[in-house]
C-alpha cells in the first residue's frame, strides 16, 4: 500500500505552470529517488507533498487520506518530515533547542537523534549558526526526525558538502532505512550515492514524470537523456 501517492498533479507559481501531470507513489519502508536536472520540478513536487504549494489539479494522498485541503503544518503532523534544501536550521537556537522546538512524541527523541549523529551530542549547546555545513545538515535531518515522521523527504541533503560528510549522511540514511523501515524520498544529484539506498526512482523533466521504475532498472540511456550523466 502506498504511503504517499501523487496522481496527475499539476501546480502553478502564479501564472507559470511548474508541474504537469506528475504521478508517483512511495510505499511504507520504501526509498524513492526523485531525480531530474535543475529546475525540472523536484522541489516543487516536494512542496506539493508538504502542502506548501497547492496543486491545481490531481490528487495527493497520504496514508490513504486525501491531504489536498490540508495546510502544511497539518500535513507535517500526519507524518511528513521535510529536510529542506539549504539546511535552514534555526540559527539563534542551540543544537538541543533546534531539536526540542520541533519534538513530537514518538521513538525519535534527542538521544535517538544523537545516536544517529553523535556529532550533535558534542555540539549540544552550540548555536546552530556556528555549526559546519555538514553538522547543520545533520541537525536539519535530526529536526525532521524529532517530528517522528512516517515519511522523510531529503531535498538535496548533501549538496555542497565535503565527500567525507556526504558519506556520513548517506550512511545515516541507509541506517534509517535498515533499522526503522521509514519511507524516504531523496533528491540528490549523485546517482552513485542514491543507488546505495534507493529502491525505486522517478525522473522529472520540465515538470513532467518522464521515467518511473525500480532504481536498478535505470540504465545509461535514461541517465544520459534525462540527467546528463
Amino acid at each position: 500500500m502506498s504511503l504517499i501517492e501523487l496522481k496527475n498533479v499539476a501546480a502553478f507559481y502564479g501564472p507559470s505552470q511548474a508541474l504537469f501531470d506528475v504521478s508517483l507513489s512511495v510505499g511504507e519502508g520504501e526509498v524513492l529517488a526523485l531525480m531530474g536536472r535543475n529546475g525540472m520540478g523536484k522541489t516543487t513536487t516536494v512542496k506539493v507533498m508538504c502542502r506548501m504549494l497547492k496543486n491545481s489539479d490531481g490528487a495527493v494522498q497520504f496514508g490513504g487520506q486525501d491531504i489536498g485541503a490540508l495546510p502544511s503544518y497539518k500535513a507535517a503532523r500526519l507524518g511528513i518530515g521535510l529536510v529542506p534544501e539549504g539546511r535552514r536550521c534555526f540559527a539563534n537556537l542551540s543544537v538541543h533547542e533546534n531539536l526540542i522546538a520541533a519534538a513530537r512524541k514518538g521513538a525519535w527523541d534527542f538521544e535517538a537523534v544523537c545516536r544517529l549523529f553523535p556529532r550533535l551530542e558534542e555540539r549540544r549547546d552550540q548555536s546552530a549558526a556556528s555549526l559546519s555545513g555538514g553538522e547543520q545538515q545533520m541537525l536539519a535531518i535530526g529536526r525532521a526526525l524529532m517530528t517522528n515522521p512516517k515519511l522523510l523527504i531529503l531535498d538535496e541533503a548533501t549538496e555542497g558538502l565535503a565527500p567525507v560528510i556526504r558519506q556520513e549522511i548517506w550512511e545515516a540514511v541507509a541506517k534509517l532505512k535498515a533499522e526503522t523501515g521509514m519511507a524516504i524520498i531523496a533528491i540528490d544529484k549523485s546517482l552513485k550515492e542514491l543507488g546505495q539506498v534507493a529502491d525505486c526512482a522517478v525522473i522529472l523533466e520540465k515538470g513532467r514524470t518522464v521515467w518511473a521504475g525500480a532504481f536498478g532498472d535505470l540504465g545509461p540511456e535514461e541517465t544520459d537523456r534525462y540527467l546528463g550523466v
Binding site: 506548501m52 540559527a91 537556537l93 533547542e97 520541533a102 519534538a103 548555536s127
Partner: protein, 327 residues
C-alpha cells in the same frame, strides 16, 4: 555564570538594594520610585515575550496595562462605596483583596489579548503594529467616554488594597510585594523561554515556513504568547493603579505602549532582564533629569538613539555581547 547572568543578578540586587537603603535613610519617595521601576519592569517583561521572543511589535499593550488598572479601580471603587458591580443575573461585588484583583486583572487582560490577538495576528509587520495601535486607541477612547468610572478624569481609590499579612500602605512592604511578583514572573518567563513552546515561538520569529514544515502553526504559538503577555501586562497595570491609588485613561494611551517598548529596547530586546534594566534606567532618568528640565525626554531620546544605532542588543547586549544559545 555568564556575564549576562552577572548583569541580571546585579540588576536585581540594585532594584532590591536601593529601596532597602532608602528605608534606612528614611526616603520613602525613593522606595516609591523603586516600586514604579519594578511595576514598569513587570509590564516590560510581559511585552518582551511577545516582542522579544515572538517578534510581535505591539503598540497596543497599554490597553492591557490599562485594563488591569481599571479592573483594580472598578473592583476597589465598588468595595469602598459598598455598591455592587451588578446584581442581576448574579451578584458581583467589589473587593479590596489584592490577590482577587490580580486574578481579575489577569483574566480580563488575557481575554482582551485573546480578542485583539485573534484578529491582529492575521496580519504582520507594519499592519500588525497599526492594528494593535488601533485596538489600543479604541480601548483608550472607550475609557474616556465611560462616565461611570470617571471618564477622562479617571478614578481615585482612597485606600490601597490589602494583601493578607502585609500592610500595603507601608511603602517598603508594597515594594516587596511588587518585587516578589516581578521575580516570580521572571522565573516563569525563563521557563517559557526554555520550553518547547518558547523555542518554537522564537523559531517562528526566525522563519515561519520552517516552523510550519515541522508541524507547528506560528499563529497559535503567537496567540498563546500574546495572551500570556497581555495577562502579565494587565497584572502590572493593576499594581500600578494600586501604587498610585488612581486609574485614568492615560494608562491606556499609545504613549504608555511606547514607554513599555522603550524599557525593552534600552535593556535589550528578547533579553530576560532587558525590561528590568530598561525600566530602572527610565525611572532614574525621569527622576534625575526630570528635576532639571521638563524636556528630559530629549535625553531619553538621545539614549534610545545611541542604543538603537550602536547597541542593538540593548545595554545588556553592549556589556554581555550577543545572546548565547542555551544561556
Amino acid at each position: 555564570m555568564t556575564r549576562e547572568t552577572w548583569i541580571n543578578v546585579a540588576s536585581l540586587a540594585v532594584l532590591l538594594g536601593v529601596p532597602l537603603w532608602a528605608l534606612m535613610a528614611d526616603e520613602p519617595f525613593i522606595i516609591t520610585l523603586a516600586t514604579r521601576a519594578a511595576i514598569f519592569a513587570l509590564a516590560g517583561v510581559g511585552l518582551n515575550l511577545a516582542l522579544g521572543t515572538g517578534g510581535l511589535v505591539s503598540l497596543g499593550h497599554a490597553a492591557f496595562f490599562g485594563i488591569g488598572g481599571y479592573a483594580m479601580g472598578i473592583l476597589a471603587s465598588h468595595a469602598q462605596s459598598y455598591a455592587p458591580i451588578m446584581e442581576a443575573p448574579f451578584l458581583i461585588e467589589g473587593t479590596k483583596s489584592m490577590p482577587v484583583i490580580w486574578l481579575v486583572a489577569m483574566v480580563t487582560s488575557a481575554l482582551a489579548a485573546l480578542a485583539i490577538g485573534v484578529l491582529s495576528l492575521r496580519t504582520s509587520g507594519v499592519y500588525f503594529i497599526m492594528i494593535t495601535l488601533a485596538f489600543g486607541q479604541m480601548v483608550y477612547y472607550f475609557a474616556i467616554s465611560w462616565p461611570a468610572y470617571g471618564g477622562e478624569d479617571g478614578l481615585s481609590i482612597y485606600v490601597r488594597n490589602g494583601f493578607p499579612g502585609l500592610n500595603t500602605l507601608v511603602p517598603i512592604q508594597f515594594f516587596g510585594l511588587c518585587f516578589v511578583i516581578l521575580c516570580l514572573v521572571l522565573l516563569l518567563m525563563n521557563a517559557i523561554h526554555k520550553s518547547a513552546f518558547g523555542l518554537a515561538l522564537s523559531a517562528a520569529r526566525q522563519n515561519e515556513t520552517r516552523v510550519l514544515s515541522v508541524g507547528l502553526k506560528p499563529y497559535h504559538l503567537r496567540l498563546v504568547a500574546f495572551v500570556i503577555s497581555g495577562a502579565v501586562t494587565g497584572l502590572a497595570g493593576a499594581l500600578f493603579a494600586d501604587l498610585n491609588r488612581f486609574v485614568s485613561p492615560t494608562m491606556l494611551s499609545w504613549q504608555m505602549s511606547g514607554e513599555i517598548i522603550i524599557f525593552i529596547i534600552i535593556g535589550g530586546v528578547g533579553r530576560l532582564f532587558g525590561p528590568v534594566i530598561g525600566a530602572m534606567i527610565f525611572i532614574l532618568l525621569e527622576h534625575t533629569l526630570g528635576g532639571l528640565s521638563e524636556f528630559w525626554h530629549v535625553y531619553l531620546g538621545a539614549l534610545l538613539l545611541g542604543i538603537v544605532l550602536f547597541a542593538k542588543g540593548g545595554l545588556i547586549g553592549a556589556f554581555a555581547g550577543r545572546e548565547k544559545a542555551h544561556d
